[in-house]
Symmetry: D2
Subunit: 372 residues, 4 copies
């Protein structure tokens, strides 16, 4: 993938230098996205016939993981863009597909409802038909890139009653969309997460994505694999970065009166070893998930349900370990460890949360219907 070289340059020149301010000021990483768009990386999963790179999940995972090492907020924005693009590529209008491929259109998902929360597949808003438009009402609890995206892949109940949900391509500037609230949260502070409400937002029926009532199938069949793998890749990138920082710190930090480093302490080494194993197991599980999907293996859906939870939980432990072994130094902003520690906590509670996924997996291994 030749474009991967350009990614390294963007990370070095644009993303990494801005990461600390992105976090501190809760600033959306516009410059990073512009740079990623210009080199074609926002069109990574877009088909070549609309000008995209035509690459798949394996490459998308590498890109997201690599960006997450430098700036998890930016990585999550890109992750959600790839998820939305997956839907738009299947059934969206060609002009938007071309814009995405050309790097001039950022999209995202707007799924989690205030009412249903982590049960992402059951929107609680409303939609009604008015001529050749749908009028959407609803309230989303947490939308990544809110206010910054050019479009939202938005879920509603079905227009005509059958099925569980319907997806729409909602213009980012549509009348009736609320202004996003500035996000002042613990972590992933730069990805402009916000609740969004829609009041009589008019969307042409032609911008319905897929069939009316068919949203659930798209969500679980097409998007969930991408979403789960890429959110896991965010977690994996953070683990890689935080372990590098922690190992560097403990190997370099000398106890004056003992003439030794923190790495000379066996307990420190044991913490880091367990963390390294956790991180590597999450990574190989992610790779196996990609392989299972590519080969349409029978266990592919089990892997999809596992991979986000496994990586998110591993990232909680690994960043926690990094905080511990770096001690008081990790409390300060400059070491960078505490930022990964905060950022890493988002993946576990993004819907479907780790606990919801555990329940799905538990049903699967006990032979019960998963979404019952």
């Amino acid at each position: 993938m030749p474009t991967i070289q350009s990614l390294e340059a963007i990370i070095r020149d644009v993303i990494a230098p801005a990461a600390q301010a992105t976090d501190r000021d809760a600033a959306f990483p516009h410059a990073a996205l512009r740079a990623l768009g210009e080199t074609g990386l926002l069109g990574l999963v877009s088909a070549t016939d609309v000008g995209g790179m035509g690459l798949g999940l394996a490459d998308a995972a590498q890109v997201v993981e690599r960006i997450a090492q430098a700036c998890p907020s930016t990585a999550m924005v890109v992750c959600m863009h790839y998820c939305a693009t997956t839907v738009i590529e299947q059934s969206g209008p060609e002009d938007v597909r071309r814009d995405i491929a050309a790097g001039r259109h950022l999209s995202t998902l707007a799924w989690s409802d205030s009412g249903s929360r982590s049960h992402f597949w059951a929107p609680t808003g409303a939609v009604r038909r008015e001529g050749d438009h749908g009028l959407i009402d609803g309230s989303k609890t947490m939308v990544t890139s809110a206010g910054a995206a050019d479009s939202y892949v938005w879920s509603t109940p079905p227009l005509d009653g059958n099925g569980v949900s319907t997806l729409w391509l909602v213009d980012g500037k549509a009348d009736g969309l609320s202004q996003p609230k500035p996000f002042d949260g613990l972590g992933l502070r730069g990805n402009s997460s916000s609740p969004l409400t829609a009041r009589d937002v008019r969307v042409p029926l032609s911008r319905m994505l897929g069939q009316d009532g068919g949203g659930f199938d798209t969500m679980t069949g097409a998007v969930l694999p991408v979403f789960a793998t890429l959110v896991a890749s965010c977690s994996i990138g953070m683990m890689e970065a935080v372990l590098t920082a922690a190992c560097t710190h403990v190997a370099g930090n000398r106890l004056e009166h003992l003439g030794s480093t923190l790495a000379d302490l066996p307990t420190i080494r044991a913490y880091l070893a367990r963390a390294r194993i956790q991180a590597d197991m999450a990574r190989v599980l992610r790779d196996d998930t990609v392989a299972a999907l590519a080969a349409q293996r029978a266990d592919a859906m089990l892997r999809v349900m596992q991979v986000k939870a496994a990586a998110a939980e591993a990232a909680l432990e690994v960043t926690d370990t990094a905080m511990r072994v770096c001690g008081g130094a990790a409390f300060r902003k400059d070491l960078g460890v505490e930022r990964y520690f905060r950022d890493a906590r988002a993946a576990s509670v993004m819907g479907p949360t780790s606990d919801v996924l555990f329940d799905f997996i538990g049903k699967a291994v006990c032979g019960m219907p998963v979404f019952g």
Copy 2:
């Protein structure tokens, strides 16, 4: 303790309302300390013959725990003040003792050296005699209330060579003390933690606290029990507050499409139950530590080594659980949960860290010398 009622009023009127800003702006809680001083609570452990309340560790623990529920930063400032007061009451000048008792003098410990870090008992600075003064050089990594305290109980190597360390009462405005750096850290952002360096700081020999070279005994014999118990009480207060917030949130938060609350989920209840047990075990261990010290039980020193580590580690788990069960809501600042989550992490890495204490305890239970 009649003054305890005044504590409730101060918490309600001064400390709790300021807690969010104290954290956000990393602002030292001057107003809270003024109010605590005016009601005599800063003189809680001062002897009655200098005007203090003459109370002991059990009451100090209650005060610190109660304040920590509202503002952990303020609680840590008070904790370190009580620790310093313990030394000053033993061997400090009467005028300072009277000022402390009267609530017009805030003190703190300045122990952890850049060179020795969590091995708090081994200062790496220097002191030399000049007439009836000592001239102190040294560099402390982390001093609570830096720049805000009226005095520091400061450790140096012994003046005349014998023993491990010597303690001094250093005036907060002494020439040669560095300006504290504003603290921009993960948690306990309001307690003005900062490195401090001393360059030729002149201290009258009369302000040596205890015997030259006797610092180690004072540190481990007199201060460590107070420090360990009160830092544990900070952790316990935070656990209490965060569990209250979490239980309230999950019991009140309704899933619209299911007509149920988060508390209806057995997995949520199981998380909270385990957390409640952890919090309560830490509390009863703290109470038993106070009792062991009061009765001079043979296991008192074991309890002292256990209590800070036990409470700090429990607080990591309990605040983590609160973050998990409150999900995305806990990420926002308004629920308060994420603040306790951040603040709670300090106790574990304050010297002696949990891992250092584990090593002490491990030596003790294996019959090895603890500080060997």
Copy 3:
């Protein structure tokens, strides 16, 4: 308590020497119970007016804990005897009370039904009246001292329909009771645990314990506090013993080519320190439970629900740590560690299991009805 000295002698001369064979052969500890009976210790909680020692839960806890250090199987038999005695003392016939006090009658609980399992309060058998007798049918999954006890405190549905359950004093030799099956299980192999079934077992109405339908109140109000505290005391005794064995092993075991012991490894010490803290927290929680019950504190029932789960889970961790730090040596029978490791696992799954208790506690802290 003067009789406590006789306990030490019995442990030294009778219980400890037999412990390994009790486990290996799954042999009921008849000799131990005879010795305990002869010194009056089986009448510890019996009232003085029937000849008992008239002591309470605090003393019973000490006895059970102390025995558990030497032989957990024997301790569990005594634990269940004290639980049954608590009911019999309230409403049982005087002759049985005198026999218990005199040490010639061993009793036990027979509560957990095949159908309801860990929901101990809901028996699924049947009872019908025939003259002045009740005829009991039912099937208990796990009865301690099965076949060895002189009586069972047996739960059935209410005779006359109201209430949740009724308790009966069933003679150990009653016609219609099944023969216990020899117990071949992982741990607590000497306590003769077995399923028992009753087929038309005739019990005089005068041997109904308490009111018809009032079993639930007796179970939760009178027995659960005793049961939970004493099972916890078994766990605490096992932790004490296994930590002593582990510390002795690691402090004494020399690595030849290094000239050092296992205790010289900081990671080993850290494992043991964490285990020691867990054990001590369980112990102080147990002591606080006893104190809460004695003072009828508002949190007494919360403590009761916590104490068994806390101690049982701690014992899982502590015995696991002992296995780990003793390494391959712990695999052999002679060190004794693996026996505590196996025995300790029972408490967690005895009804109400740790998970059931977590659910109760979770309901309590969320303000929900506990037995709803």
Copy 4:
């Protein structure tokens, strides 16, 4: 691999039916090994030119994992045989290689010394030259297949002083070898683990395996990858079997008074989901280790150090979970769960233990020499 079908038949007809008795009676699985030898499976890693199957680590891992599902003791015997064969194939005499390939010779490793324990690479015995023989003295703490193997790959200090250790092919019936002690341990009771001592055991110099003093390189370079991967495969097989048993139990076991199964409890499902993830992460890490070794990847040695520890620790958790979710039923021998629970504990404490491996890994990730 056509022979794999014969493996299934052997497991079904010979290994599985004997597994319970193998454990109960601590009986060496002679019949299983005879059957495996007859179908050529004991020659799986032997070269085709001596009549072996000429297969590699990937296939060996599958065989060991599959056997471990039915009988972990048998799997460990085969594991150690493949390890020993790896050395013998490199530098052993052709007659023994042919016998192994033909399935008439069982071998094993005899490395861990009483003095050095888990530091397997540093034997503490002695060897001296006598004509064209070496005379070996030494004491091995734990040898698998002791007394049952036809040969031992035995480590001694170097004959001529240089290097760390030397390996020898010692005949299983050599004079001077002690009789193995019957193994009465917690788990893996059928693999005839025993200490072995050698007193003046004469071994022809031609049966020195590799160069004098070159044992360390063979141990770490050739055997450790095989050993670590295959012991991990034992753990993986046990996890697979115990999860199958646990899921079957909880999905089938009905609570009568509620009309539901244990699998209907969300907490049970959550336990199983976490366990399933642990088991699957260990498996994909094992597969990645095999791939890393085959491709001679730079991280291959890191994977080797990780895989045994990761799988062994995962197996501790997974079998523990199975015990928990199956509750009292798991305590009985018939469900089989408690056997895997006991057997699974061996891998963690077999040298190099998990903790030793954590230390190696910690050194590696901190840039320190691993075997320093």
